[in-house]
C-alpha cells in the first residue's frame, strides 16, 4: 500500500509537538531521538512515495484530505499534490534535512540547557512540516500556509539565541521583510481568485493554459505580485537584506533554511506558476533582470566580506539570482536543476563552515584563520569539493546547472546576450571569492590566538559524515542534468520535469536547441572564466598572502569601503523607511491622538466646566439678586409673550 501524502508533513509535526511539550522534561537524548527520528522517518516515507513515482509514469497525484475553508464561492481543501516538481523538491528537502538534523546533534552538543536543545529540534521539525506543506500543497492558500510557516521557523531559529540583541533583531528583520513579500503573495492570490475563481493549482493552471488570451491581461499584475513574494522569500534585490543577518542563527539552520531549502521556495513557486509567468512575458523579463542583477550585486559584496558565513550568505543570494535568471529566460527546469545542485553544495559549504566555526570556538573571521587544512582534513576536502562545485568546475554539480543557465540565457531573445555576459562575469566572481575564503581558511599560516590554535580540531563523526555525503553529492548531483551534447538521454532531469511545464494553447513551447558547437564553446568559456577566478584567488591569497588585494583596496579606499559595507543598503533603508516610519508613528500618536482628538474633547469638556465655574458666581448669596433674576425672567417672558399681542 502507498503512504498517503498528508502523513509526510504530519510526521515532523508530531515530532515538533512531542519535543515542544515534553522535550525539556526528558533531556537531550530523548529530544535527539525524536527530532532526528522524525526527520529520518519522513525521509523514508518520502522515498517510499518517490521511488515508485520516479519508476512510474510521473503522473500527477492529487490527494484531497478535508475541506478547510468553505465560504460562498471560495472553497479551500487541504489537499496534497505529488508531481515531478514537488517530487524533486521532496527528494532533496527531506534528505538534506535529515543530514542536517544528524549534523545538528554534534553541532548543538555544546548547548548547555536542555530547554534550548529541545527548542532547537522542535523548531527544526516544525520547519520540516512547514516546508513539506509548502512543497506538497495543491492550492496557493495551502502553499501560503507552508510559506508563512517556514518564515516563522526561520524567525524562531534565527532568533534562537534570543538573548543576543543582534540575533533577536535579525529574526525580526527576517520575518518583517518576508512579510513584505507575503503582502505581494497575498495580493497575487487575491488577483488569482478574482480572475480564475479558484486557488487550486489544477484549476487555475488549466484555465490559464486553455484560454490564455482571456486571462493574460490580468496576469502581468498577478505575476508581479507573486514574484514580489518570491523576492522576499528568496532574498532578491531589494528584499535580500534579511538573509545576511539571518546568519545569526545556528549554522545548521543557515545550512538548511537559508541555503538549501526555504530560500529556494521562491524559485519553486515561480516554477510552479510557470504557466502564468509565461503568459506575462514582461514580468519574465523583470524576473530575469532582477535575478541577474542580484547575482552580480551579491557576488560583488561577497568579495570583500571577512565573515565566513556572510560570504556564504551573499553567495547564496547570488546563486538564487542565477536560479531566477533561469526562470526569467524561461528555463524553469534548469532553474530547478540549479536549486537541486545548489542545495547539495551550499549545504555542504555551510556545514563545513560550521565545523570551522566549531573548531575556532565560534570565531568566523577568516582573517584569524589559515592553515586549517592539516588539522581538519575532512572538512577541507568536502569544503573544497563544494567550492569547486559552486565555482562551476566540471565535473562538479555546479558546473552543469550553472552552465545550463548561462546557455539558456545566451539563447534567450532580447537581452539574452547581456544577461549571459553578466552571468558569466558573476561566475568568475563566484569562483574568485569562494576560492578566496578557501585559501584564507585552509592554506597559509594560522593567524588566530594561541588558545584558538590548540583548540582547533576535526569535528566529531555526527558532523563529518553529513559533510562527506554532501561533498559526494556536490560532485555527482550535477550528472542528472548533463547537457544535450552528451547525448539524447544524458539529461535526466529536464524530461522528468517537462510535464510541469504545461503547453499553453497558441504558444509554441518547443524552441530549437543550440548547435553543439556553440554549446561546447560556451562551456569552454565559462570553465575558463571560473578557472581564472580560482587561479587569481589562489595566487593572491594562498600564495602571496593577500598583498595584491590589499594594494587594490588601498588604491581605491572609497570603493573598497563601500563594497565592504555591503553598499550600505541597510543604512539606506534605515533612512528611507525605518526611521521615517518610527517618526510617523510617534507623530501620529502625539499629534493626531493626543493633541487633536483628545485635545478637542478635553477642551470642550473643560469649556463646559469653565462655564459652570463662571455661572455659579451668579449665585451671589444676596437674596435681592435672586429676586431681581426672578423678576427679569418674568419681564423677559412678558415682553416675549404679551408684548407680542
Amino acid at each position: 500500500m502507498t503512504l498517503p501524502l498528508w502523513v509526510l508533513p504530519v510526521i515532523p509535526l508530531v515530532g515538533f509537538a512531542i519535543n515542544g511539550l515534553l522535550g525539556t522534561r526528558f533531556g537531550k537524548s530523548f529530544v535527539t531521538a525524536v527530532g532526528c527520528g522524525a526527520a529520518g522517518l519522513v525521509t523514508l516515507a518520502a522515498y517510499s512515495r518517490l521511488i515508485p513515482f520516479a519508476r512510474g509514469d510521473h503522473a500527477t497525484v492529487v490527494e484531497p484530505v478535508v475541506s478547510w475553508i468553505a465560504v460562498a464561492n471560495l472553497s479551500i481543501d487541504i489537499s496534497f499534490r505529488l508531481d515531478p516538481l514537488s517530487a524533486l523538491m521532496l527528494s532533496f528537502v527531506t534528505f538534506v534535512a535529515f543530514l542536517i538534523h544528524i549534523y545538528a546533534i554534534g553541532y548543538m552538543h555544546h548547548e548547555t540547557s536542555d530547554a534550548g536543545y529541545a527548542r532547537f529540534f522542535a523548531y527544526l521539525n516544525l520547519f520540516l512540516f512547514a516546508m513539506l506543506t509548502l512543497v506538497l500543497a495543491e492550492s496557493f492558500l495551502l502553499m501560503f500556509v507552508g510559506w508563512e510557516g517556514v518564515g516563522l521557523c526561520s524567525y524562531l531559529l534565527v532568533g534562537y539565541y534570543f538573548d543576543r540583541e543582534y540575533a533577536a533583531l535579525a529574526g525580526r528583520k527576517a520575518f518583517v521583510v518576508n512579510r513584505i513579500g507575503d503582502y505581494g503573495f497575498l495580493l497575487g492570490m487575491f488577483g488569482i481568485f478574482a480572475t480564475f475563481g479558484s486557488l487550486n493549482y489544477s484549476e487555475v493552471f488549466r484555465k490559464a493554459a486553455e484560454q490564455p488570451a482571456q486571462f493574460s491581461p490580468a496576469l502581468a499584475a498577478i505575476c508581479l505580485c507573486l514574484f514580489i513574494g518570491a523576492m522576499g522569500k528568496s532574498a532578491q534585490v531589494p528584499l535580500y537584506v534579511w538573509l545576511p543577518d539571518a546568519m545569526a542563527g545556528p549554522t545548521p539552520v543557515s545550512a538548511l533554511i537559508h541555503a538549501a531549502t526555504m530560500v529556494t521556495a521562491g524559485v519553486y513557486m515561480v516554477t510552479r506558476c510557470n504557466v502564468l509567468f509565461r503568459l506575462a512575458p514582461e514580468v519574465m523579463l523583470f524576473v530575469a533582470v532582477i535575478g541577474c542583477f542580484t547575482a552580480l550585486f551579491a557576488g560583488t559584496i561577497a568579495v570583500a566580506q571577512n565573515d565566513l558565513k556572510k560570504v556564504l550568505a551573499y553567495s547564496t543570494i547570488s546563486q538564487l539570482g542565477y536560479m531566477f535568471l533561469a526562470c526569467g529566460v524561461g528555463a524553469f527546469t534548469v532553474g530547478m536543476f540549479h536549486v537541486l545542485t545548489h542545495a547539495c553544495f551550499k549545504a555542504c559549504l555551510f556545514l563545513g563552515a560550521g565545523c570551522v566555526m566549531h573548531a575556532m570556538s565560534d570565531d568566523l573571521d577568516i582573517r584569524h584563520m589559515g592553515g586549517l587544512k592539516a588539522k581538519m582534513p575532512i572538512t577541507f576536502w568536502t569544503f573544497l569539493a563544494a567550492t569547486l562545485a559552486i565555482s562551476g568546475i566540471p565535473p562538479f554539480a555546479g558546473f552543469f546547472s550553472k552552465d545550463a543557465i548561462l546557455a539558456s540565457s545566451f539563447e534567450a531573445p532580447g537581452l539574452g546576450k547581456l544577461l549571459w555576459f553578466v552571468g558569466l562575469f558573476t561566475a568568475g566572481l563566484t569562483a574568485f571569492y569562494m576560492y578566496r575564503i578557501v585559501s584564507l581558511t585552509f592554506f597559509g599560516q594560522f593567524r588566530g590566538t594561541k588558545e584558538q590554535a590548540h583548540h582547533v580540531h576535526e569535528a566529531p563523526a555526527t558532523m563529518t559524515v553529513p559533510l562527506v555525503v554532501l561533498g559526494l553529492l556536490s560532485l555527482v548531483a550535477g550528472w542528472l542534468g548533463l547537457p544535450a551534447v552528451f547525448g539524447e538521454h544524458a539529461n535526466v532531469i529536464g524530461p522528468f520535469l517537462a510535464p510541469v511545464i504545461a503547453p499553453i494553447a497558441g504558444h509554441d513551447a518547443a524552441h530549437e536547441a543550440l548547435p553543439h558547437a556553440t554549446e561546447w564553446l560556451l562551456m569552454a568559456v565559462s570553465v575558463a572564466v571560473a578557472a581564472s577566478g580560482l587561479y587569481l584567488a589562489y595566487q593572491w591569497y594562498a600564495k602571496q598572502g593577500g598583498r595584491a588585494p590589499a594594494r587594490i583596496a588601498a588604491a581605491m579606499p572609497g570603493a573598497y569601503a563601500l563594497v565592504a559595507d555591503k553598499f550600505r543598503i541597510d543604512e539606506l533603508y534605515g533612512v528611507l523607511f525605518v526611521r521615517p516610519y518610527a517618526w510617523a508613528a510617534h507623530t501620529l500618536w502625539k499629534v493626531v491622538d493626543v493633541l487633536i482628538i483628545d485635545g478637542l474633547l478635553n477642551a470642550s469638556a473643560f469649556l463646559v466646566e469653565l462655564a459652570g465655574d463662571f455661572l455659579r458666581f451668579l449665585q451671589t448669596g444676596n437674596v435681592r439678586n435672586y429676586a431681581l433674576t426672578f423678576f427679569l425672567g418674568l419681564i423677559a417672558l412678558l415682553l416675549f409673550v404679551v408684548g407680542a399681542i
Binding site: 455659579r616 458666581f617 449665585q619 448669596g621 444676596n622 437674596v623 435681592r624 429676586a627 431681581l628 423678576f631
Partner: protein, 103 residues
C-alpha cells in the same frame, strides 16, 4: 364702571402700587422694608380684586381679599419671627450682609 369710577382707573392705581412694591422689594436692603414692599404688592392685588369684584357685581372679590388679609397676617407673623431668629446670629437684617450661603 363702579359707581362713577371706571374700572381701568382702579386697575391703574393697583398696577402702580404693585410696581412700587416691586421697586421697594428690589431696591431696599433692609429685610423688613423689603417685606413691607411685598405687603404693598399684596395690597395692590387686593385693590385689583375689589375693583374687579365691584365691576363684575360679585362679592367673590371681597371674599378673596378677606383670605388674602388673613394670609398676609400669617406671613407677617412668620416673617418677623424669621427676622428675629436671624438677627440673633447676624445682628443685622441688611440682606446685603447676609450671604453665608452662596455659589
Amino acid at each position: 364702571m363702579i359707581g362713577s369710577i371706571p374700572l381701568s382707573d382702579v386697575l391703574l392705581v393697583s398696577g402702580a402700587l404693585f410696581s412700587i412694591g416691586i421697586a421697594g422689594a428690589l431696591l431696599r436692603r433692609n429685610a423688613i422694608q423689603i417685606f413691607l414692599s411685598i405687603e404693598l404688592m399684596m395690597n395692590a392685588a387686593n385693590l385689583a380684586l375689589i375693583g374687579y369684584g365691584a365691576a363684575l357685581g360679585t362679592r367673590e372679590g371681597q371674599i378673596v381679599v378677606f383670605f388674602v388679609i388673613a394670609i398676609a397676617a400669617a406671613e407677617a407673623a412668620v416673617g418677623l419671627a424669621i427676622f428675629v431668629a436671624l438677627f440673633r446670629h447676624t445682628e443685622t437684617i441688611d440682606v446685603n450682609k447676609i450671604n453665608l450661603l452662596k455659589w
